[in-house]
Symmetry: C2
Subunit: 204 residues, 2 copies
Amino acid sequence: MCIVFGGGIRVAELNLLQEKILSDGVIRPGNVLKVDSFLNHQIDVPFISELGKEFKKLFGDRKVDKILTIEASGIGIACLTAVYFGVPVVFAKKSAGSNMDKEMFATEVMSYTHNRKNHVVVSKKYLKPGEHILIMDDFLANGCAVSGLLDLVKQAGGIVEGIGICIEKGFQGGGDALREAGYDVRSLAVIEKMDAETGVITFR
Amino acid sequence: MCIVFGGGIRVAELNLLQEKILSDGVIRPGNVLKVDSFLNHQIDVPFISELGKEFKKLFGDRKVDKILTIEASGIGIACLTAVYFGVPVVFAKKSAGSNMDKEMFATEVMSYTHNRKNHVVVSKKYLKPGEHILIMDDFLANGCAVSGLLDLVKQAGGIVEGIGICIEKGFQGGGDALREAGYDVRSLAVIEKMDAETGVITFR
């Protein structure tokens, strides 16, 4: 069972995603939160579309030419948000090879889930100088994936308008480091801590 | 330049996707059709949403509980179609390991693009007996990926209502083999042949 405490007091006002995490998320040892019933294996499309609307509200005042994400689990939320912006999605591809293709921007992203370094690439045709980019992903923990995407936008000479995240693991610090660096990071749910034994999730 | 011939005569009535392939697709030697400007690297979300509507028309009379696809390039079209069906998407995951997880249905899919066999898995939680499944993918060539997805549905005891494909390479025979086996395969564009030298694409 999951319940939520904010500073010891149950927080009454939860948003859509926080409610969903409490009802459908499963905490596993090692600070793992399984949300594969609705976000990153099975995708609850009607629900994730509502999150897309939410991101449109959060970043609606920004100029967004394109949404950039990374395969595979960012693609769903990125597409279902792009519907409301009326813009394309570009997804960075993970590649085992490390060959430098002249047609590609490339960066390295450490994956702690799979304990390996991924070579991540985007075609130079789909990130251009001066483009206004919204970066999106399903999860933000230590921030490795987002940092890789930022690096790709920087190489292309694009402008990062914001970073939209479904679930941020606040206790891993990646989001705060990005905020301190000046990025507009908006996470629909920031987990302050979670306890696999008691099943308690604390949102920021 | 791409032009289209049907039996030597230019076909006047092209659908949305066929038009898009002719305007934005690039033929490469070895029967490779690059559509990464709108379908499988950059995703032209407003356009792909129109294809989603098209699939809803094609399969709208079927009972569809869930759309099943495979990461990564099937996720966009699957999600943008699921919006019109109001159902979840499940995407099968490629996994390097071959360990048999009791919680997963697993199958093998040959990838000719990457010249390797992928171990492909779906959690048993997200494919259930009696569920009515629409299988979708961006491309259908020899049919290996779709056959893998069919195998997963069969293991789960689900019912395949249809197979929705954006681009079928008709000359590779995978689609026709599936039709002969009794599946309702609908492809928005079936390429009968294409020629990298002349740039001519012939639709069925």
